[in-house]
């Protein structure tokens, strides 16, 4: 992503497709080229994953990886807008690939129809530049955080519950906070209700997911002010946006001065309900 090499020319299709970015201040042809050269891994093709994937594909991220092991369920369609009624019972990755290809057939899409674990996450993640967390459970969120820290990949975080959402960016290696600086370890079983128990406002992940896609695009283009060190809190019911600071914790077990967690941990999926939103 340097500016010294003569830029590759856009194809005719790219000039047309991305014209609104190419003429836009702060993005322009140079920014669009960065998007086309970028590789982004989106973990989860559900509530958050749907808007994230749609907007990244629309923006022309050159390579998008999609991780999800789940199948489309009718109850997903209330908010997982990447999928359609005809996709019920299909693997989410297959459905996602089809719909994203229909939106933008010119980019590379890679499906990872698998459950992430300590056995596979590093190998899956390694080729990508940016990772986006669109998962729906604590164990994988901690796994993804730790893996991105070990690999040195920026992580765009988002999470939701009922009417509330959170978003931030964890940037490794710069005395910037990671997820464990915010929440050092997962809550014990029974202390936090699951989405299946509490319900979720359908349009909520649309807002948070679009914010995550925004942050990923800004990381890649280098433009604007990112959410690093800032936790954005959104309350859809009261249309309230609030920001709190996230500080780097020098004692953080993963990103602190003397890390005590140096290997990936597979926390047990403890909610007893399969990880379907």
């Amino acid at each position: 992503m340097t500016g010294d090499v003569a830029p590759k020319r856009f194809t005719e299709d790219q000039v047309q497709r991305y014209s609104r970015h190419i003429i836009l201040p702060n993005i322009g042809g140079a920014g669009q080229r960065k998007l086309l050269d970028a590789k982004v891994l989106v973990i989860g093709a559900g509530g958050l994953g749907s808007p994230i994937l749609l907007y990244l594909a629309a923006a022309g991220i050159g390579t998008i990886g999609i991780v999800d092991f789940d199948v489309v369920d009718t109850s997903n369609l209330q908010r997982q807008i990447l999928h359609t009624d005809a996709d019920v019972d299909r693997p989410k990755v297959a459905s996602a690939l089809d719909h994203l290809r229909a939106l933008n057939p010119t980019i590379e899409l890679i499906g990872h129809d698998t459950l992430l674990s300590s056995d596979n996450v590093m190998a899956i993640m390694e080729p990508y530049d940016v990772v986006i967390d669109g998962t729906d459970n604590f164990p994988v969120r901690y796994l993804v955080n730790d893996a991105t820290q070990f690999l040195g990949k920026p992580l765009v975080y988002g999470s939701i519950y009922q009417f509330e959402g959170q978003a931030t960016v964890f940037m490794p290696g710069q005395e910037a906070p990671c997820y464990r600086c915010l929440f050092p370890s997962p809550p014990p079983p029974g202390t936090v209700p699951s989405c299946a128990e509490g319900g979720v406002f359908g349009v909520l992940p649309g807002v948070i997911g679009a914010i995550q896609a925004t942050e990923a695009i800004k990381i890649i283009t280098g433009e604007g002010d990112s959410l690093v060190g800032r936790l954005l809190l959104y309350d859809a019911l009261h249309m309230d946006f609030q920001e709190v600071k996230i500080r780097w914790d020098a004692d953080c077990p993963v990103c602190g001065k003397e890390p005590t967690i140096t290997e990936l941990i597979d926390y047990e999926l403890f909610c007893g309900i399969p990880a379907q939103s």
């Binding site: 999470s159 519950y161 959170q166 915010l182 370890s185 809550p187 709190v244």
Partner: protein, 91 residues
């Protein structure tokens, strides 16, 4: 000191569904005690058995995590906003 406490969704049931409530106290500890007086049970998931803050629920005075201020002894002033923020994982 009169502060506003912003309640996360999971605690609003203790306050008849209210998202913001008023509370009094000179420190966070006093504010939480005042909350508990008016809304019994509300601090059960915020405070651990040893009386300290749970590690998966963060509390902010304005925009600062109280862990970096004085934890439960963080002083509050009139007009401050105390936000209780649990970890959530939905997606």
């Amino acid at each position: 000191m009169a502060v506003t406490v912003k309640l996360p969704t999971i605690l609003r049931k203790h306050a008849s569904g209210e998202a913001r409530v008023g509370a009094d106290g000179a420190t966070l500890s006093e504010v939480l005690a005042d909350l508990e007086t008016h809304y019994p049970g509300i601090t059960k998931n915020v405070l651990a058995e040893d009386g300290g803050l749970h590690r998966f629920i963060n509390v902010y005075v304005n925009d600062e995590d109280v862990r970096y201020l004085g934890s439960l002894e963080t002083e509050v002033t009139d007009g401050d906003t105390v936000s209780i923020l649990p970890a959530v994982a939905g997606g």
